[in-house]
Amino acid sequence: MAVKKLNPTTLFAWVILILCAAYLIVPLLTQFDYSLRMRRDVLSFDAYTSVLSTNPDDNGQGIPRFYTSLLFSTLMAFFTILVSILIIVPTAYWVNYRVPKFKPVMDFFTVLPFAIPGIVLTFGYLRTYSAQPFALTNTEVGTAVILIGGYTIGVMPYTYRAVDTGLRAIDVRTLTEAARSLGAGWGDIILRVILPNLRVAVLSASLLTFAIAIGEYTLANFLFPDERAFGSYMAAVGRNRIFEPAALTIISYALVWVCVLVIQRVARGTDQTQAASIR
């Protein structure tokens, strides 16, 4: 077999690829290496064991904050996903089916979050809802409602687009008319006809929401100054420990990685440009 001559264009493509790959991978490799160096002169997983079994501030014997904060953020992510589905799916369906005139309004609302970054959103929420007459931040549930609302807004551009794309791929009108002529109510139509057809969109939007909410710092840190969210916990570890932050980076990178891999597995061939507006 003749040796294929590398043309200059392909060579240039390789150079770009290697450069970019290095940018993405080297920081991770050095971080992984560092996370293994807690024990002097030997490679060990001590930093990981430390993360999983101790607290950054060394006080208290209770459950390590790694678990409690991860649980808290998972819970917030879960509710965000739930609220997103409840708000976005029926609305996107209804706009597609009955009020297409409303599409420009939806487009407006789904780019607006890009103009209101996390820190401004936080500021707006606190000034609006922590004061009388709302005083939502006086209770934990009230504060959590704000956090979940903010996350839902933050991921809305992606969620809406994913669901909207999903709806365009199916014949909403025919499905609806068929279901109605068989006597289905609106609840049945959305839950048992539309939603199953949006599995891929909903699942990938949910996983992205999870990946974002888990590591989110800005809203969580200001709404819950007791640092109970995973993002705040990571920041606390960063202030107090040396090797553990490296272990946490690897763990949270792995979490995002798993989410993205599952999204790509389920969403094969669909529009998957994705990024959060809360940063």
């Binding site: 390789w14 770009i16 450069l19 940018y23 971080q31 707006g124 993002g231 995002v256 891999l261």
Partner: protein, 296 residues
């Protein structure tokens, strides 16, 4: 509403159906009002109110003090630089994995890596860059002991604007890749063949066909990257802290209520961010529309 006798009112049914149809979007509108519009309106109205609630422009003029202008300036600078570098690098990588002649298998891997990196900002990203380029960072040591370049003796530090720029690029260029891959996919093979058949070189194709078609998409995405960096807070907070006072940090201090706390001014600062981002998003949407004509 006026109803003249000459024109009998339309039958009741269609009117009711239309109004009922709009009721379906009310829950969404209510949600968007509570969590998006109303807080934004609070910021807008309070930017023009003094402590007694009377109309004032003092809050806005408070923005035009050297330290605050500098913070806006630093934020804009970092956002511009990372948007331009990120867009350039991202577009090149998107080109390389679509029509640049790289093996097909690489494309999937690059997109996966980029999806992760685009969503991997904040605290862990700051940790990774401190380990890489901090004073005792792995790359710092490698460059000093291996190649003889001492970054820190030459004025570099990760805890500076330059450091923050390098860290932001980590999520900026991968986002660009994700946006630009569909655009490169949209460049039809036939167009290149047509250009070649007419005797055009590769350069001719790019100059007269490729770049004009991709330009709106490229510029629009660059604007998006600008906004992406402009609003970033967690990475800056964890990496440079008070050493680089980006505008999001100034607002965060106002939230915490520090010594320089001035409620009116803090509304104006937030409004300033919204205005800058609103302008860039409008630009983005406009450029996207121009793109949509060619792609698909």
């Amino acid at each position: 509403m006026q109803v003249t006798l000459d024109h009998p009112p339309a039958p009741a049914l269609p009117i009711r159906r239309v109004s009922l149809a709009w009721v379906g979007v009310l829950p969404f509108l209510l949600f968007a009002f509570i969590f998006l519009l109303f807080p934004s309106l609070t910021i807008l109205t309070n930017s023009f109110r003094d402590r007694q609630g009377a109309f004032t422009l003092d809050n806005l003029s408070g923005i035009f003090t050297p330290s605050i202008l500098q913070s806006y300036g630093v934020s804009i600078q970092i956002s511009l630089v990372t948007a331009i570098l990120g867009a350039g690098l991202g577009a090149l990588l998107a080109w390389a994995i679509t029509i640049g002649g790289l093996p097909r298998a690489i494309r999937g891997w690059v997109i996966t890596f980029c999806s992760v990196a685009a969503n991997f900002g904040g605290i862990p990203l700051a940790f990774a860059f401190i380990t890489l380029l901090g004073r005792t960072g792995a790359l710092t040591k490698f460059l000093r002991d291996g190649i003889g370049i001492d970054l820190y003796n030459n004025g570099f530090s990760i805890y500076t604007v330059a450091g923050l720029t390098l860290a932001y690029l980590y999520f900026q260029f991968p986002l660009m890749v994700l946006i630009m891959v569909p655009a490169f996919d949209g460049l039809r093979r036939e167009w290149r063949e047509a250009a070649a058949n007419l005797g055009g070189s590769t350069l001719d194709f790019w100059r007269h066909v490729g770049i004009p078609i991709l330009l709106p998409s490229f510029l629009g995405s660059t604007v998006l990257l600008f906004g992406n960096a402009f609003g970033a807070f967690a990475t800056a907070e964890a990496l440079t802290g008070s050493k680089v006072d980006v505008i999001t940090r100034v607002i965060s201090r106002q939230i915490r209520g520090d010594v320089l706390y001035n409620p009116g001014l803090s509304y104006a600062l937030a409004l300033g961010m919204i205005v800058i981002l609103a302008i860039s998003i409008t630009l983005y949407v406009w450029l996207q529309r121009r793109t949509a004509r060619w792609l698909r």
